[in-house]
Symmetry: C2
Subunit: 226 residues, 2 copies
Amino acid sequence: MREGPDIARIASLVGDPARANMLSALMDGGALTASELALEAGVGLPTASSHLAKLGDGGLLSQSSQGRHRYFRLAGPQVAAMLEAIMGVAETAGPKRARPGPRDASMREARVCYDHLAGEHAVAMLDGFFTRGILDQGKDGVVMGKAGPSFFAAAGIDLSTLPGKRRPVCRACLDWSVRRSHLAGSLGAAILDRILEQKWARRDAQSRAIRFTPPGRRAFERTFLA
Amino acid sequence: MREGPDIARIASLVGDPARANMLSALMDGGALTASELALEAGVGLPTASSHLAKLGDGGLLSQSSQGRHRYFRLAGPQVAAMLEAIMGVAETAGPKRARPGPRDASMREARVCYDHLAGEHAVAMLDGFFTRGILDQGKDGVVMGKAGPSFFAAAGIDLSTLPGKRRPVCRACLDWSVRRSHLAGSLGAAILDRILEQKWARRDAQSRAIRFTPPGRRAFERTFLA
DNA sequence: CGCATGGTTTGATCCTAGTCGAAGCATCTT
DNA sequence: AAGATGCTTCGACTAGGATCAAACCATGCG
């Protein structure tokens, strides 16, 4: 008999297919209503409501009521990181899975992870930041490097607005498709915002995939990849 | 209805208390027999056998038969990393938990994570490695730095024996208690080996905690922490 | 107001999955 | 061989939990 964190309790929350679908649907960091999540999970409204209550009690979801709508979102970046970690082993440890099709390929290339960019592009970007001294691996994880401030200013990102919230500015997040780190934290979120704001890419409505336009991809590479 | 990795399948494997206990017991990277795991999980032998079969099919455990014993261990470092991630949210998202007692305090300070050192000491060590140029954050994650070879030679670790296996030499692993990275990979494993071999510390028999002897702690700090 | 819409609660149903006793294999010991 | 030990399989029992229909609140709109 062991002690330690009650891992079974929260794993069993994720272990139900309906709840897992809901959580996956929220992995893009957005907020959805109970009925949307019911649809997403392929389950009736009462069932969904019950599931959502459990996820709320379990601390995986936060809820906010607006009028007669009730919005649910992931409780925080840690929850998203955990889900990515589970996806990682599901991908490799899972039984013979159909090889990732074209849709999955675009997910591998670029997708939203909670509120920041993930996938091959994001991993390459973080690598470049390190080698160019834009970010550094410091005492408290990832930290701003010497070349950082001027770089981000040139890229149109205002660093002064980032601190102040409770979340760290820089954070590393393990990528389940590439299995290397990409940049999370408020800086990661700001970069994704910038990409979308410039209309270099748009979010797929159905999945978490990010689709770059051809000129957008070039602009992204010119700006963020050396 | 979503696609993507079958997250519910593997989360539900972890979601059963008996299986969660077994997995926790294996988090130290060691191998245990079916009966030991049954005891650890507080469950009968037939039940344990059934659980172990499921964990094996699910790809979370690897098994090896030696004589009439059957040994089980975690399938790989990714599985351990996932479990640590789940522990992380269980720790924060969990409901009012009893504040960590003395035993948990020693776990936070130093413990085994699969096959390498985790906890505050390990996080401080990796930080020091980065600032002293012993390791660097390179294109492919953590990589040997300029000062590395001479440093590890002085510390009694033979780098030439490390590569060759399928696992990376250096890897970052997110620490659930401190929520910052520590060093995994074969180099991380070699450092832990060295610490135990020098008898600077011993492993707690019951938990994953690592207990330094007073002179051992000084030697560790002198050797690995600046 | 009255009605529609979004969400929760209740109650009943059903089924999966965890549990163990007993019997069955396999392997080691004597 | 005969016995002991470690583990798995089989069979039966049970409990927990997922599900939905129907009734019940709450909010917004005309």
